[in-house]
Each structure stands twice: as structure tokens, then as C-alpha cells.
């Protein structure tokens, strides 16, 4: 049927084809996908090289010279090891906990008969669309040991003090990271879980294996690629996250890698050491990504076979069902309901004292950030512009790259795919540092354009992967059929491939839009007067007034949730892609 459609489209199109457009098509077929790849590689190489070069330069009275002194300075500083150690603890713990929780949530909605699975499936994804920084500050409002809403409620109701709550410090950072990065793992795991052939699990059961034994020796090993990919993303993203440690760890004097890099760029700044720090981190994260690829490439993880099968739904007993519902409800309460309620309460209070006073409700904070403070007004426009333009350009580049990798003929495609995945392993603040070093003496310095470039460079692999996953599912015969019937490459793209890819393209666009709206790591070193984004404004306001920051957080939340609703409405959810 699809072939007939392609054939008839090809015949119809061929009637409109001229020799000139055919030549253009031939050029476009080779040139356009390649241009996407070249742009991607340049976006990576530029800041990468700038960071390496800057890390190896030192200045003395005679001028700059090549030196390893920046690396020596970093590696002999106890601060480096403190920061690296804390970052490792946070990222590894967050990756481990998110993987466990993400797997549990995915298993509950995809393999059990728990009631309300449809709702849980939607709600599990909501934290993915929220800003982690807003999550961190909302948890401060909720659980700060002496002024949080929850400790105050418990104290007022039962006279019990909860001053042991560890929201400040590493436990707080790990907790918030886990809550907001669990959906990453969930997204990686839920589709393979749904598609998994239950025959292996059934065979184990038939041979007397217990539920836990089957889970440990059959299900989890089969899901290892998805679990490892999710864990790696959480690990790397957590390691590079600037905002949560800034809110929860810095007040306790706890150093982390991103806050240390930020500190090194601040006056009296030491860009050389910051760059050396960046090179060390990039090397570590890229090495980790290579190890993961190698590990996965050596093993077979067939979860989908050619035989007809149906994923087995586990009928939970009453106790198990209650436990599953409880896990879901706790996650959604901690990751969505409580943070949203907290920022709403603070945003509606004139003077935040740690207790919500319904008698003193006010919209003053919203009035201020929306109508009376030029910085927040500018920041909202900048974020919208960056997200709209950035997502569009990013998706265009990603489509071309995905096409080159999965439809191209070059024998270097595997290597290119690997290179184009590198930004996934580079923390945002390190990439921002690279672009700062690269752009500081160019007209791009302190412009929105450099922020836009950094955003696209950091996140295009995510869009490429989203589009790739659907491109792989489309049989190339459809395009070949159109071409055989005389359609040019451009026409085949326009009438065959792009319409089929549209759901994935929209999903990728919305994904980038959401990420760009809440991004901070790459922005914090690149923003300037007039190029502040909402996330930057949140950081600046959080130092001034709880009410203002909460009001702006609510505005950001509305924008992100609107994107989430759109995301669901396109029927191209990440789960499906």
C-alpha cells in the first residue's frame, strides 16, 4: 500500500521534474546531508580546540607561551579533588537512583496491570519538562530544615522539629537530581520493556525461577543497553549541572565541578585553569561514553524477535498493586505536586516567611516580573526566541545528520555518528566555557547568537537520535520507489520522507524547545547585558527575592507545561519515538 502511494507520488512528481531541478536534486542529495554533518562537527571542534589551546597557554612578562602549568595547578589543588569527588558522588548516586526508579516506573506502567497506568504514563514524564533549578529552589521552600513549608507544618501540627532534613548539601543535590532525571531513564527503558518478547521470561518461570531471579538474570540484562544509556545520560548531565549545586551545595561551602569552573571564570578569573579543568572533565566523560559504546557493541541484546509475541502483563497481587500505586504516587507527589504547590505559594506571598498566609495573597510578584522589571521581560523574550529559532535550526541540522548516517553511503558513517554524539558527554558549562574562549575576541561575544550556537552544539545529538529512531523504522524502499519512478531527491524528501518523519521531527523540535527554555549551564558564562534568559534571571532573582523568583518560575513552568501538552497532542511522544 505504502509502495503504491510512493509509486503514484513518484509518477505525479516526475511529470513536474525538469533537467535543472534534477541536477539541483543530485547536488542537494549529496551536499545537504553532508553540510549538516560538517556544521555539527564544526560546532563541536570549535569550542573543543579553543578549550584545549587555552588550557595549554600561560602568560608571563614576555607574553603567552605553551605550558602545562594550568594542569599542574589544577591537579595539585585539593579543591580539584574535593570538587571532582563531590561531583562523582552526586552524579553516580543520581545515576544509580534514577536508573532504579526509572526502571521501576517503566516496569509498572508497561508490564503490570496497575490501575491508572495511562495517567501514570503521562505524569511520570512531567518532571522531564520542569526546570531542575526550579525543582531545587522549590525543594528549598519545601524542606529547608528551619524554614521549609513541610517542617513548619509538622512543627505546627505535632510540635516535632525536622531540622535534620538534609536538603542543603550532597543528599539534597542527589535527591533533586534523582527526582528530575528519573524520566530520562524511564524514557530509555519503557519502549524496550514494552517490545520485549516475554518468551525468555516465561522459560525462566517454567523452570522454577522466582520473580526476582527472572528480573535479575533475564529482564535487566536484556534491558542493559537502555539502562546504561539512560544511566550515562543522567551521570553526564548531573556532572555538568550548575544550577542544583549552586542552590543546594554552595551555601554549605561544598565544591562541585561546575561551580568550581564558574568560580574560576569569575574575577580574579583564571581562564587557563578553568580550561584545564574543562579538558580533564571532557576527557573523562568522552572516555566514559566510548567505554559504554564498546561494552554494548560486544554483546547481543535482542529483545524483539521475528516471531509473533505479546508482551506479558504481570497480574499483580493486591499487595503488589498497592505498592506499585504507592511508588507512583510518591514519585509524582515529590517530583511534580509538591514543587509546583511550593512555588505557587511563594509566588503569591508578598514577604515569604516560610509559612503560607492565605489572607495575604498578592499578585505583586507577577506584576513585577511581567510588567515592571525590564530584565525579566527581556529574559522571557530571549528564551522564547532562543527556543523557537534554536529548536528549528537544531532540528534541521539533526535531520540532515540523521539522513547522512542512516541513508548515506560513506564508510565513515559509524565514526561520524560517534563524533556527532560527543556533545552528549560534554557538560553544558564546559561547552559554554569553550564558546566563551572562542568568541571573546570576536563580534559574537556577548550576543544572543553565541548562546544560540552553544545551545545547538550542546543538544543537537538529542534531536538527531529522536529523528534517527524513526528514520530507522522507515523502510528505504519507499524512497527508492519514488526515485525509481522519477522523483528527484528533494521531491522524495518533500513528499515521502518528511511527511513520514513529521511526528519525530515535531517531537525533536519540542524536545529542543523545552531544553532551551530551561537551559542554564551553557548560558551562565555566555550571557551579557540584554541577553539574559529566564534561567539566568531565575539565578539573579533567587539572590534577591523569593517571591520574584517563584513568580518567574511559575511563568517558566507554564511555558514548559504548554510544550508538554503540545508534545502529547502531536501523538509523537518520546515513548513512541
Amino acid at each position: 500500500m505504502a509502495h503504491d502511494k510512493a509509486k503514484s507520488a513518484g509518477v505525479r512528481i516526475a511529470q513536474m521534474t525538469s533537467p535543472a531541478s534534477a541536477a539541483l536534486g543530485r547536488f542537494a542529495q549529496r551536499g545537504l546531508p553532508l553540510s549538516g554533518v560538517v556544521i555539527g562537527i564544526l560546532l563541536i571542534i570549535g569550542p573543543f580546540c579553543a578549550t584545549i589551546v587555552r588550557s595549554m597557554l600561560a602568560w608571563d612578562a614576555s607574553g603567552p607561551h605553551v605550558s602545562l602549568s594550568n594542569f599542574v595547578g589544577i591537579l595539585t589543588s585539593p579543591h580539584f579533588y574535593q570538587a571532582a569527588g563531590n561531583t562523582l558522588i552526586c552524579s553516580a548516586s543520581a545515576a544509580l537512583l534514577s536508573t532504579g526508579l526509572g526502571f521501576a516506573l517503566a516496569w509498572i506502567v508497561s508490564r503490570t496491570d496497575v490501575p491508572g497506568r495511562g495517567w501514570f504514563e503521562i505524569l511520570n514524564l512531567v518532571p522531564f519538562f520542569l526546570s531542575p533549578y526550579v525543582g531545587a529552589i522549590s525543594w528549598l521552600y519545601l524542606a529547608a530544615p528551619h524554614s521549609g513549608i513541610l517542617p513548619n507544618l509538622v512543627k505546627d501540627a505535632f510540635g516535632i522539629t525536622l531540622d535534620f532534613l538534609p536538603v542543603y548539601g550532597l543528599p539534597g543535590v542527589i535527591g533533586v537530581l534523582t527526582l528530575f532525571y528519573t524520566p530520562y531513564v524511564y524514557l530509555f527503558v519503557v519502549a524496550p520493556l514494552r517490545q520485549m518478547d516475554a518468551a525468555l521470561e516465561d522459560a525462566a518461570r517454567v523452570h522454577g525461577a522466582t520473580f526476582w531471579f527472572t528480573l535479575r538474570h533475564i529482564t535487566i540484562p536484556l534491558l542493559m543497553p537502555a539502562l546504561l544509556s539512560g544511566a550515562l545520560i543522567v551521570f553526564v548531565t548531573s556532572a555538568g549541572l550548575f544550577d542544583i549545586p549552586l542552590a543546594l551545595a554552595s551555601p554549605k561551602g561544598i565544591r562541585t565541578m561546575p561551580t568550581e569552573v564558574y568560580g574560576l571564570v569569575q574575577f580574579p578569573s583564571d581562564l587557563g585553569r578553568a580550561a584545564a579543568f574543562g579538558v580533564i572533565v571532557m576527557t573523562a566523560t568522552v572516555a566514559l561514553a566510548i567505554l559504554q559504546r564498546r561494552y554494548l557493541s560486544r554483546r547481543r541484546f535482542d529483545t524483539v524477535s521475528g516471531k509473533g509475541y505479546r508482551p506479558r502483563i504481570v497480574a499483580l497481587r493486591a499487595g503488589g498493586r498497592s505498592a506499585a500505586v504507592l511508588v507512583e504516587l510518591i514519585y509524582i507527589t515529590l517530583g511534580v505536586v509538591l514543587p509546583v504547590v511550593a512555588i505557587l505559594m511563594v509566588s503569591l506571598s508578598g514577604l515569604w516567611t516560610g509559612r503560607f498566609n492565605p489572607a495575604a495573597l498578592t499578585l505583586k510578584n507577577f506584576d513585577y516580573v511581567l510588567f515592571n522589571y525590564s530584565l525579566t521581560q527581556q529574559a522571557i523574550w530571549n528564551s522564547l526566541a532562543l527556543a523557537l529559532v534554536g529548536a528549528t535550526i537544531g532540528v534541521a541540522i539533526s535531520f540532515l545528520q540523521a539522513y547522512y548516517i542512516h541513508r548515506g553511503t560513506s564508510r565513515w558513517r559509524g565514526l561520524i555518528d560517534g563524533i556527532l554524539s560527543v556533545p552528549l558527554g560534554i557538560p553544558g558549562i564546559i561547552l559554554g566555557l569553550g564558546y566563551l574562549i572562542l568568541a571573546i575576541r570576536t563580534p559574537l561575544y556577548s550576543t544572543l547568537t553565541i548562546i544560540l550556537i552553544a545551545y545547538i552544539a550542546r543538544f543537537f545529538p538529542m534531536a538527531t537520535r529522536t529523528i534517527s529512531s524513526m528514520l530507522l523504522a522507515i523502510n528505504p524502499e519507499l524512497e527508492q520507489s519514488a526515485r525509481a519512478n522519477g522523483a528527484s531527491w528533494l521531491q522524495t524528501m518533500r513528499y515521502i520522507l518528511l511527511p513520514l518523519l513529521l511526528p519525530a521531527i515535531i517531537a525533536a523540535w519540542l524536545l529542543l524547545f523545552v531544553i532551551f527554555i530551561r537551559e542554564l549551564g551553557a548560558t551562565i558564562l555566555l550571557y551579557a547585558q540584554g541577553t539574559e534568559t529566564i534561567s539566568v534571571a531565575l539565578v539573579l532573582l533567587s539572590e534577591r527575592s523569593a517571591g520574584y523568583v517563584a513568580a518567574l518560575a511559575v511563568i517558566q513552568l507554564v511555558m514548559l507545561l504548554a510544550a508538554f501538552v503540545l508534545f502529547r497532542m502531536t501523538r509523537a511522544s518520546l515513548v513512541q519515538s
Binding site: 524554614s147 554552595s250 580574579p268 515592571n372 539572590e543
Partner: protein
């Protein structure tokens, strides 16, 4: 016929020329009249000063904008300053006063980056870090400007709190112990009384590891307090905070019971909203941090920047800043309208610090010493 045409042509040319001349004259007259109506020109004492201000106003109008970065002044106070500034110089509402509130280190970083990039976007940097200011002047990064307002800041220059021809401070502040009177009854009189006044973990300290002003304050405190004191303070397991607003906010919510380095300005602003923050002027003395404005040498709007300096240092400008921010004016003979929060500088016991002798390299060493004690 030809003569008639020639006469007609001449008449037409003459008419057009007259119309243009009249229009130009009217425009010039109205602009001059409008400029003369500006209160700042009317208030100028001499014809020379009137001409100088008039010229600056004309140039500022052409520039159309002023960009200044500050580390203390809140947006509400800025709005009042900008409105009064436009009125004083007869600038239209379209004249843009762009302002950015940042931490001291972030502001200094931005200035250094813009200078390195050769792309200066800000006209005025307003910072309370005299060592940094002196270095900028020395390196030629600051525009020379002999504001007539400096005549009223002789004491500031005498005390090394400004450089005549470059900058004078537009408002000073101090960091002192502060507490929430609704949650703590504190009767201390000395810095030392803070030790043990609240349980461990319930006190905050300005993060000198990241902030220039807290670092400068620590340097000053070290003149009158010994290492044992700071070690005892570190033993109270303080939180390290960057912004004075944040420090006060945590007192208001009760997260902290005491702040070691809080700004009376923030007590004033929060108390206006119903909080009850109190502070102490310790008997050992306080470190005065003069917030000073410099015009960057490559400022894109130099005329507007000069007018801004004149205005902020004027009595009217000082009134707005002191009433909005409870900062201490350095203007000779200025009487504070908020003596409880912004007492006259001559009534304070000040810790003497030789700011000129402090270089950026020394600041790094001081930061290292601070980090050694507090180990954040």
C-alpha cells in the same frame, strides 16, 4: 515672459529658503528653550556650567541611552533614579537607562571580559571594591572626568575613598551582625559576642571565596579580629552566602538566626514589609565599603555617563539612594534621612584599611587565608 518666469523662480526659491530658515530657527530656538528649561541647566551657577551641561545634554540625546551596572541598588531605587535623572536633564521618556544588578565579582568579571574583547557595552560600573577601582584607574581603563559634584566630596578624597577626577563614592555600606528579633533576643555589643550566640548551622557568613566585597570586609576585619576569632566562627558551621538580599531573606524565614555579615540596607527594606530585623554596630568598628562609580574609558555613551555621575552625586540623587537603599552618603554635610539604618559616616567607628595598598594578587592571597580558616 522670461523675466516674469525668472522673478517667479526667484520668489519660489526665496520662499522655500525662508521657510527652511524659519523652520531651522524655530527648531533651534525650541531645542535651546527646551534645553534651557531643564532644571539642571537652570540650577547651574555659571554661564560656563550652563553651556557645559547643555552640551552634555545635547550629546546625551544623540547617544540615546545609558548603560550602568551596579552591585547594590535595587530595581525600584533605580527606577526612581532614572525618572528623576531624565527630568533633571530634560531627557525624553524614550531615553533609555539600562541597568543591571550583579554581584561584585560578576561585575568585575564582565568589565575585564569586555575590555579584553575590546567590546565595551557598559558606560558605568558601580562597585564597592576600592582595590579593583584603583587598579582600573592605574591601567587607564577609567575615563577622566572632573565632575563639579566632586567639590562636595572633599572628605571622601581626603580619606582615600575616591580619586579626584575619576571617582567618588555614591553611597557606602557596611556588613554587620544581624538577627531576626522575632526569633532571637540578642544583646551583644561586639563581634565576639556573635560566637556561640546561636546553635551551629544557624548562622550565615558572606562567601569571601566568591565575593569581592566580603573578601574586602574580611581583610578589614582581620585588622581588629584575630585568627582564633575566625576559627571559632568557622566552628559554628555557617552557611556561605553571596548576596546580602539572600542573607536577609534567610533571617526573615528563620532558616538562619544570625547573620555575621549583613547589610543594614536589607534590614531597612525587609522591615518596610513587616520583618523585624535588627543589627549591631560592633564596638571594635566596622569596615566601610564605598560604592563608587567609574566611567569606562571606552564607554559607548560618555556624555550620558557624565550626566549620570553628576546627578547621582547631587543632593537629589543622594536623597533617592539613601531613602531607597539606606546607604551612607559621602557628600559633605549631608544629613541622613534614615539615621537608624544609614547613620552619618562620621558617627561610625571605622576600621582603617589601606585600600591603595591592596592589589589583585594580594586579594588572591587574602582569599586563600580565608579559605584556609573556613575551608568551604
Amino acid at each position: 515672459m522670461t523675466n516674469t518666469m525668472t522673478t517667479l523662480r526667484r520668489s519660489l526659491v526665496l520662499s522655500v529658503a525662508s521657510a527652511v530658515a524659519v523652520t531651522c530657527a524655530l527648531t533651534w530656538t525650541s531645542r535651546a528653550a527646551f534645553a534651557q528649561e531643564a532644571p539642571a541647566i537652570a540650577a547651574a551657577a555659571t554661564a560656563e556650567e550652563k553651556a557645559r551641561v547643555g552640551k552634555l545634554i545635547d550629546d546625551a540625546k544623540k547617544e540615546g541611552e545609558l548603560v550602568y551596572w551596579d552591585t547594590v541598588i535595587q530595581p525600584e531605587t533605580h527606577d526612581a533614579l532614572a525618572a528623576a535623572f531624565r527630568k533633571a536633564y530634560g531627557l525624553a521618556a524614550a531615553f533609555k537607562v539600562t541597568y543591571n544588578l550583579q554581584g561584585t565579582a560578576a561585575l568585575a568579571t564582565r568589565v575585564e571580559q569586555e575590555l579584553a574583547a575590546g567590546k565595551v557595552t557598559m558606560d558605568i560600573a558601580s562597585v564597592a571594591s576600592l582595590p579593583w577601582m584603583y587598579e582600573r584607574v592605574q591601567k587607564g581603563d577609567v575615563a577622566q572626568y572632573a565632575s563639579p559634584a566632586y567639590a562636595k566630596y572633599t572628605k571622601a578624597f581626603e580619606n582615600g575613598l575616591g580619586v579626584d577626577g575619576y571617582f567618588a563614592f555614591n553611597g557606602a555600606y557596611i556588613f554587620v551582625p544581624m538577627w531576626n528579633a522575632q526569633k532571637l533576643d540578642f544583646k551583644g555589643k561586639s563581634w565576639k559576642d556573635v560566637i556561640g550566640a546561636v546553635p551551629e548551622g544557624r548562622i550565615s557568613v558572606g562567601d569571601a571565596g566568591k565575593s569581592l566585597t566580603y573578601l574586602a570586609t574580611y581583610h578589614g576585619h582581620a585588622q581588629v579580629l584575630d585568627d582564633a576569632f575566625f576559627k571559632a566562627l568557622a566552628g559554628m558551621k555557617p552557611s556561605f552566602l553571596m548576596r546580602s538580599e539572600q542573607i536577609a531573606q534567610r533571617l526573615v524565614t528563620g532558616e538562619d538566626l544570625m547573620a555575621f555579615s549583613a547589610m543594614p540596607t536589607r534590614a531597612y527594606q525587609n522591615n518596610q514589609k513587616g520583618a523585624q530585623l535588627k543589627f549591631l554596630l560592633p564596638e571594635e568598628g566596622v569596615v566601610l565599603l564605598p560604592q563608587s562609580m567609574i566611567i569606562l574609558a571606552k564607554a559607548p555613551h560618555p556624555a550620558a555617563a557624565r550626566l549620570w555621575i553628576d546627578f547621582v552625586l547631587s543632593e537629589q540623587g543622594q536623597d533617592i539612594i539613601v531613602k531607597g537603599e539606606a546607604m551612607m552618603s559621602g557628600r559633605d554635610g549631608y544629613k541622613s534621612p534614615l539615621p537608624d539604618y544609614a547613620p552619618g559616616i562620621d558617627t561610625l567607628k571605622l576600621v582603617k584599611v589601606d585600600w591603595k595598598g591592596v592589589s589583585t594578587e594580594m586579594l588572591k592571597d587574602i582569599r586563600g587565608a580565608w579559605a584556609k580558616i573556613f575551608a568551604p
